[in-house]
Symmetry: C2
Subunit: 491 residues, 2 copies
């Protein structure tokens, strides 16, 4: 396995596409815009799911499952919602195939046309709120804190593995509350969970904020988000949490009797993260040698490669390695002992570097004599020789160090790429030469936001939260502004 | 919460439908044939998933994810496969909605018609084997042992919660092997896993066997299955594992170089269980008071209900209960302490009986004085008073006993309802009066099988495996037969 990766400097975008495929994370399928998530990539996604699921359950949420199909009339009930999704809907119109009468093959049976078309869910607010109408009568039924793990489809014209695909996997939370305040607190609590997950599990530093009106979720009153910075200076939205007000409750007529017996519409949130996080993970940490995975999400945390000539040497090494594998597993560390005799050690080193395995042990004849292992860490590519008696402690420490180091490295890069600018000229120039996030004053109008986007391709990523008040003047129009907002070009 | 369940005797089918809804497992949605799986039902499904996933991984399988859409041309490549699924396909024909020009609302944009229609997967053999062509070149790439957790859609005209729904959740394994023998062994190994899961986790006894040709999966050479018996004497197919021969490898041109360097088609299996198992679970154990859940799959294994007047009494009880809750959780037992003051103990007893919680503890003033708990088991409804110092051991034992007891009860029912018959008259008469499984001789022809089905609605559930050879004569035609096969009416 030669890596032959395009370097980040040569072509960042090509580097990413090649890496995702060569590291066995995902590949394009024969279905336009739909990806195949390969076992190694899926194993990382499973670790993400497990951590998030635990956090949701620890905060009182339960999982459920709602239909994949949404009747067209449901989607149409909330006006801005359907406007936001109409242009990218996969539509089911028929329910049967048949043999063509002229013998030309299998065709859609024109007689099996649905009375009402069904949309493959792009998101599930409408079908869920149609259900909540049956579940909610009284304040005693609230809050309703539900999450769903599911696939969704948005018919994107230009797709990229993990970052933008027609079908993707995600979780979508949908909660119902008796008061506005409680719903807002829920949306913010979830943003904190996403932040903790991104920073502590993915080792990806993020900036929390709210979206400008133009970037809000279709149907939301407020959209909270976390924004990460990739190594090419572009931002990536890593999760969103929406305060939906009473919009969906009104569209689907979901009322409850409060403690005083009065009827009121229910308050709502929705929130989600998707397999897009896989793209963020790859682009934040990886290098020209391949993936760099945070130990907390690595399917294999430690790989052990024997270096030997002949079966006798291999047996001696295996006798030493097998108890170590057992001890590491007992500590909850996932270990692979790669004693395949069909591949040379150099090939294996390359492969595990490409796949981002955090810690690699090698053991040859000299190590056997000296009672040592060679320990290499993926993040810095440093190697050292460690006594066998100390190797378990060493690995435990190292996994923690790597987790911290890649977070700190990403944080340093991000801090180095947040620039405060006060003039539009400076903004435009630095956006091209340096990239990254820009904190600048904006007059708060959609017109100015749109102009900046058209002229520079940069968008308002968020209004950082909690807000830091600072009087200033819009860098474009000079009109007054009460706080800086965060701009960047984005994925 | 009054239970007011229809009894099994009154109307078994109605009892089932009511129970699924009242026990908060699932309900019908606004989308024809698609169900909503409610949190309590989904929590059981998650426990099923976790146990199965562990068993698959322990036998070397990995998870991956393939597209939900299957191009019509893919589905058409294996002739008997498409014939089996064509009549129940949800077909995506368009990818955009728009506002009607006459202002009548949202319509499907006729200009956004797909060049090739996409089928929402009814099963994934075709898209997966199209992918395997890229993954398999050499015997070194084999075996490929992959599983997928996914939703699938089969457009059934008559649907019932869990048992037959247009959309359902399942796992589908798809493996590729170098030899016929290895593929057959894989199909049989999976059947053993399914059997172990059904009997040891669900406490549902099953009979293993192979399907007759007429009941085989569309595209399979051999279909293995497990069959369970419900309390109304009808059979339910609880899982299938297919040996696919080289059918899909040939349809998708998947060849590999063997050790001698020769090209050969790859051998395949596929296998699956679905949310249908939820139906089997409900129908096997539950009674006229509600669900009876096996402790291994119960979301709540133990519920504790305080019986008190006033806050002082509640506080005294809580002081006693909270350390117990902690100790039980430390042993991995899931406990709920229901101290809601909005509901009376009687209401709570009813609710947890309906929801099948295996063990219920109650504690009132007298228990407090005597240092005891009242312990009730759901399967037999028996109660006893247990000393506080013994209650943890007692609960641990009881959970195990309940798991065993409901299995043995279901097994006794099943054994009592397997009848060996030698004449068609006897078969028809006992099928109506007694129901259950029938072991009878059959001449092996599709014609006789079809005749029996038309005249009695009974089908061949399986040819029990391993086969018990016994010379005999077909109960219908008198032609020679080498073994008895298993008949029943089925879900
Ligand atoms: Zn050290
Ligand atoms: Zn006892």
């Amino acid at each position: 396995m030669g890596k032959n990766l395009t370097t980040r400097k040569e072509d960042y975008s090509k580097w990413y596409n090649e890496l995702v495929v060569k590291a066995d994370l995902a590949e394009n399928s024969g279905v336009r815009g739909c990806m195949v998530i390969k076992p190694y990539g899926y194993a990382i996604w499973e670790k993400m799911q497990a951590a998030l699921d635990r956090m949701f359950k620890d905060t009182g949420h339960e999982n459920a499952y709602f239909p994949i199909f949404i009747p067209k009339s449901y989607l149409s009930k909330e006006a801005s919602h359907v406007e936001g999704f109409a242009k990218e809907c996969a539509v089911v119109t028929h329910y049967r195939l048949k043999n063509a009468e002229d013998g030309s093959g299998i065709i859609v049976d024109p007689e099996a046309k649905l009375e009402e078309e069904l949309i493959v869910r792009p998101t599930s607010e409408t079908i869920i709120w149609d259900t909540y109408r049956r579940w909610i009568q009284s304040y005693r039924d609230l809050p309703l804190l539900i999450n769903q793990w599911a696939n969704v489809v948005r018919w994107e014209m230009r797709t990229r593995l993990f970052l933008r695909t027609a079908e993707f996997l995600w979780q979508e939370g949908h909660t119902a509350h008796a008061t506005e305040q409680e719903a807002i607190e829920e949306a913010e609590k979830i943003l904190d969970i996403y932040t903790e997950f991104a920073e502590e599990h993915m080792a990806v530093p993020v900036i929390k904020g709210t979206k400008s009106e133009g970037e809000r979720f279709a149907g939301a009153v407020e959209t909270y988000c976390i924004e990460a910075l990739m190594q090419d200076g572009k931002a990536l939205q890593a999760g969103t949490s929406h305060f939906l007000g009473q919009n969906f409750a009104k569209a689907f007529d979901v009322k409850f009797a409060n403690k005083e017996g009065q009827q009121d519409y229910v308050w709502a949130t929705s929130w989600g993260v998707s397999t897009r996080l896989m793209g963020a993970l790859v682009m934040t940490h990886s290098d020209d040698n391949g993936l760099v995975l945070p130990p907390k999400l690595a399917p294999i945390q430690v790989v052990i490669v024997p270096i030997y000539k002949g079966l006798d040497q291999l047996e001696a090494i295996s006798a030493k390695v097998k108890p170590l594998v057992k001890d590491l597993r007992a500590k909850g560390i996932s270990v692979k002992y790669d004693d395949r005799d069909t591949h040379k050690p150099g090939f294996k080193f390359n492969e595990y570097e490409l796949k981002g395995v955090p810690v690699r042990l090698a053991i040859g004849q000299r190590d056997l004599q000296n009672d040592t292992f060679e320990v290499a860490r993926r993040d810095t590519l440093e190697k050292e020789t460690v006594k066998a008696s100390e190797v378990i402690d060493h690995i435990e420490e190292l996994l923690q160090k790597i987790q911290e180091n890649i977070f700190n490295r990403a944080l340093a890069y991000r801090e180095d790429h947040i620039t405060r600018v006060d003039s539009y000229e400076e903004f435009k120039s630095l956006l091209e030469s340096k990239g990254g996030f820009f904190l600048a004053h904006w007059d708060g109008t959609p017109e100015t936001e749109e102009r900046i986007k058209e002229e520079t391709k940069a968008t308002i990523r968020c209004i950082p939260f909690p807000a830091e008040e600072e009087d200033g003047k819009c860098m474009v129009t000079g009109k007054p502004s009460a706080r800086r907002v965060l701009f960047a070009k984005a994925y």
